[in-house]
Every structure is written in C-alpha cells, then in structure tokens.
C-alpha cells in the first residue's frame, strides 16, 4: 500500500442512488471499520468523472475501495466497473458489487469484469449490516 495513504483514513467510494441504502452502508461501515472516509456519488456519470479526475491529477489518490450499485442513473454499474478496470492508475482498486439483483447473469458478468465481491442487498437488517464486515475483510482492518 502506498505509504502516503497510510497516514490518512482509507476512502471508500460508494456509488449508490438510494439514500436509504447509503445510510445503512454508512452505519455498517461505522460498526466494522475503525477509520474510514465514505465518499458517495449518486449516479454512474459522477463515478466516471471521479475516476477521470483522479487519473488526470497525480496528487489525487485512488479510493481504497469501490462499493458499486448496478442499477444506477446515467451510467450503469457495469459501465463504471469496466471504466475503472481500464484505468491505468486505479484498476487495482477492489470493487464490491452492492445490488438487489440476484440474476446469475449479473453475477457472472461482474465477476468476469473483475469485481472482487458480490453483495446482494438482503431484506433483513442484520444481514444487510454485514456489508461492513465484507469491506473490513477486504481492507484488512
């Protein structure tokens, strides 16, 4: 890991258009992570801009992790994932797919595109709150 990043808290970028889910994710991360910064963008296009901005400015670090919804306005989660994996600077960033879709096609496709994990949003609160645990495991905190 980049030594400069160790000084600061890891940035988790959440691409999610549902405020309700954003709230749950934040609660869960708070529960499981000692230290983190949650940045949220609410559509796919903003995620594109963020990746591009990071690429064009050397001083900007890549986020530590992407939490990516699939069903997004403007650009889909698939497109964002594809764009990120093409990025010379940020393609290594782990991506957790966060979606209510249980479609085998979505699972297969995101795995193929290089997603690290697939978290299906459950209808149960306890189950939902495990998303923090997943992120914790990946970030090794």
């Amino acid at each position: 890991m980049n030594p400069s990043m160790q000084a600061t808290a890891p940035v988790v970028l959440l691409v999610e258009d549902s405020a309700a889910d954003t709230y749950l994710v934040r609660q869960s991360l708070r529960k499981h992570l000692k230290d983190f910064v949650l940045r949220v963008v609410d559509d796919g296009e903003k995620a594109f801009h963020l990746i591009e901005a990071t690429e064009s400015d050397e001083s900007l670090p890549c986020p530590a992790l992407f939490l990516l919804d699939l069903n997004l306005p403007k650009r889909t989660g698939h497109e964002v994932l594809q764009r990120l994996k093409k990025s010379a600077k940020c393609s290594h960033v782990p991506v957790v797919i966060l979606t209510s879709s249980d479609s085998p096609v979505d699972r297969a496709e995101t795995t193929r595109l290089g997603a690290t994990a697939y978290f299906r949003k459950p209808p149960d609160l306890e189950a939902f709150m495990r998303i923090g645990e997943v992120v914790q495991n990946i970030l090794g905190q």
Partner: protein, 621 residues
Amino acid sequence: MSASTEMAADMTCAGNDREETERQLLLLVEASGTLLASPQESDVVETVMTLAQRFVAADAYALWRQTGETTWNAIRTIGLSSTYSRSIDTTSVRSQIPRLSADPQVITDVENAPFVASRLDWYRREGIRSLVTIPLLLHGTLSGTLVFYYRQPRNFTEREIRIAGILANLAAAALGTSDLYERQKSLRNSAERSARRAAFLAEVGADLASSLDYAVTLTTIAEMTVPFFADWCGVSIIDDHGGIRRLTLRHADPAQSDSAQEVQKLLPPKSLLPVRLAKRLRCAQLVEQISEEILSAHVARPEQIELIRRLGLRSLICAPLVARGRTIGVLTFATAQSGRSYTHEDLEFARELAHRQALAVDNARLFADVAHERERSQQANRNLQAANEALQRANTDLEQFAYSASHDLQEPLRTVAVYSQLLERHLKGLLDEEAESFISYTVAAAKRMEVLVQDLLSYVKAATGVEPEAPPVNATRVLKETLVNLQAAVEQSGATVSSSDLPVVRVPAVHMRQLFQNLIGNAIKYRGAAAPRIEVSARRLGLQWEFAVADNGIGIDPKYATQVFGIFKRLHSSASYTGTGIGLAICQKIVERHGGRIWVESELGRGSIFRFTIPGQEHVS
C-alpha cells in the same frame, strides 16, 4: 328330281359338239392359269364371272358363298336387278335348298319345283324360270355355288353341265387359294397390327411414365391414336366431384376442327350413352356398327343424331379409365371416313390402352396428392418453426421482464423491510406492546412479499427458461446437492432421506434440483408428529422415468390433489405453515416443460407420494 334324264337326251350330241367341248375345255385349262395367278378374292370372283359368261350362255349369273353359320350371300351377280335378294338364311329351309347339295342341281322350271317355293317370288320378279346350281367343292367341302339363271324353262345338256362343273372346280380351287391367301394376309396383318400396337403401347407406357402431368400425357396419346387406331379420339376425365370434363377431342383430319367444335358443343361427354355406360359398368364397350336403331334408341336430340350422321361415325369404342376400382375417366374412339369397323380385337387393344392410361393418371394424381401433402407439411413446419421462434423470443422477453420486475419490486420492499426493522430497533422499549406488534407485522409482510416476488420469478423461470438441449444429468448427484441445501431443515426436523438408484435424465440440473428441493422441502415442512421419513425413488415406465418422493407427513385430502399444484394455492394458513404456495406450481411447470406430468397420491394423515415422469431412455446411474 334329277337333271340326269334331261341330260341323257343330250348324250347324242353331234361330233362337232364334242370338238367344240374339247376346244372349250382347252381354253378353260388355259384360263385356269389366269384364274389361279391372282390370289385376291375380288380378282378371282371377277375372273370366275368372266369365264362363266364366256363358257356358259345364261341370262344371269351369281356366285354364292357361305358367309355365316346359316347365311349365304351372293357375293357377285350379273344380270340380276339391284332389288334381287342376295342373302339367304338357311336356318328354316336347310333341307329344301338344293344349292347346299354337293351335286349340280338343275331346275328346269321354278314354277314346278316345290323346294324353291320360298324363293319363288324373287324368281318371278326377276323373270327367272330355270336355273342350274353347281357346287364349289374343295377337298369335299362345300364353299359356295355358281348359279346360272335362265328366263325360259330349259333343259341342260351334259356338255353344259360338264363345262359348268369344270368351271366350278376351277373356281373352287381359285377361291380356296384366295381364301388361304386372305387368311394368311389377315393373319399377317393381324400380326403386324399386334406388333404395331405393342410398339405403340410400349411408347405410350414410356410417355406415361415420363410425365406426371397427366392432362398433357393423355392429350398426347389421344393424338397418337389418330389415325393409327381411330378417326376420332376423345379423352374425358371424371373429377373429384363426379363431373365429366373432356380433356381433348382429336380428329385425323385437321380440316375437321369445325366438326370437333360442333361435337364439343353438341355432344358433351355427359350426353353420350357409352360414357354413361362406361362410368357405370366400368368395362369397355364396343359398338361395332352405329346403326339407325342404336342412334334413335340412345341419342336424345335430333340435332345430335344429325351430327353423328354427318360425321359418318361408323363404329365406336368406349374404354373407361379405372384405377383402384374407381372410374376416373373415359377414352372414346370412333371410326368414320376410314370405313373400318371395330372388332373385339380392337376392344382388347383399347382396354389395354385405357388400363395403362388409368394407371398413369392415378399415379399422377397420387403424386400430385403426395406433393401437395408434402408442400402442406413443409408449410406447416415452417409455420411451426416461426411460431417456435416467436415463442422463444416471447419467453426470453418475459424472463427478462420477470427479472427486471422482480428486481424493481424487491428494491422498495427491501427498504420497507429493513427500515421497519431499524424502526423497531430504535423504538425498542419506547412503544407499547401493541405498537411493537404493528411494526413486526409490517416487517413480516414485507419479507413475505419479498419471498413471493422471488418465488414468482422462479416460477417464470421454470415456465420460460430456454434449454433446448439439456445435457444429461445424474439425478443421484443432483439429489445429494439438494440435500446439502436442505441440510439445516433436515437436521432441525430430524428427517431421514433415503433414495434408490436414480437415472441419468435430460433435464437441466437447475430444474431437477428445484423439483427435489420443493418436494423434499414440502415433505419436511408438512411433517406429522413423527420425524420425517422421506424416500426418493425412480422406476422405468416404457419410454419414461417415473420419480417418486414419498413421506410420512400429514398427507393431503384427495379432493385437493389437483388444487395443490395451482399457483399461490395453499391448504394451510401461513401461521401454521409458512410458504407462498408456489413451490408445487413451479414443480408442475418444470415437469410439463419436459413433457412429463406430476401428481400426488395421498390421504389425510397417511403421508403423501408425489410422482412425476420425465421422458428419456437414459439408464440408471
């Protein structure tokens, strides 16, 4: 009565008479060369008559020949009027007719000869008073007579009888030769005709076999029979509705095309008796001679009779085209200007020709039927294929829609469920018991809705998922995987699940898994007081496998045996047994999609056996 007494008087004929006789005999012998030189009957007859006139002075002459069993005809006469009866039927008068005798018969005066009384009127009209009849004998067989008639009563000299006798012998020999010649000629003609007809039939056969357009073929063959076999040839076809349609009408002479049009107009196939006959009787008809009697008896309209007369139709053959016991048409042949009359031999030929044509027409029709049928089935296949493609597209669309719809429905439900729980947690201890139960109902309803939506999606997938060529799957292995999924439920309920050897089947693994999961899951869920005992088995039933999942659970009232497979059908409240009532509906959809069926054998309190069939030839694994 004999001529010998009268002849005896002439025995005293003068010496110059004898010389004259010898001279005449010499001339006769010389003439015999001429007589025997020509083998044609008509030439022989002319020569005999010429010699008769030259050597025997008489007022009239006749050469009679036997032309039938009992009929005699004067085939050539000289000096008799055109009204003289030239035909004699010997049936009733055989014994009386002297000319049938083997000896020369002399009648010196017809008025005094009782045995010719039946002919007396004819003799009187012709003014005949006496006659001498010389038999024509060949090898002892009577083949005709040569008769000399006189208008005065007359005695005949021995010389006259002898000369006449020698002439008759010569004539008999010549006629015998010409008969032989004619017979041989006829045989040769017949052989030639047979050969020609055989060649024709062979040619026709090749034509018929080479073309499946029978209308064209029949027309061509009609053309070929004219004028070789007929002056007129018509071909009529009986269509499927029993109507007769004339395919073609040919005539030897192209100049007769006007007449052909008249025939078409005046004598449609229906109007001709033989056509009707042929259709009804199913065998060929021969009208050797189209007589006035036949015309008036069988042809309805005067203008039709007039036309037939004008065309000079003489003889007619109608041959039905019969194939597989059904009359499908009629060939009509007629003679006219050629003057010939049809015989039984011709009828045979026409029958043979019709037989071959009928087979050809029948073959062509069968072929057309088969071709039509093939075209129809190909079209049906194409339609089916198009329908299948459309159905597959619709299925794919529907499945995609189901995914999107279930996803979009689940999103808000999930939020309702999760946030209800969050609310519950936040307000814990602040609300009274009743308010807390409200929240728990909300949570339960939202979760239940979520399961319903998911099950609905499973149902749609079972109904529409497209797996045209599923790879063979080992049912035993699928069952093991299923039991891993059900491990928690099995352990919790203390269930034992056993199975016999299960076959390899061509059903997608995901479908087999769902079948086992739903049926075993139900068996555990609807258990009785005792720990569930579940047995999975399969047996071969003809070309399919019958699977059975038997349990010792609460059982089902047989009156609900069908209802349980209905979508969202439940026999119990969700308080006593959870579930959406879609599991068995999914099972039914899956089984039916693979061409099988599913049913339950059960009684309340006696466990249930769910059976389903899966087509397939695969063996037990």
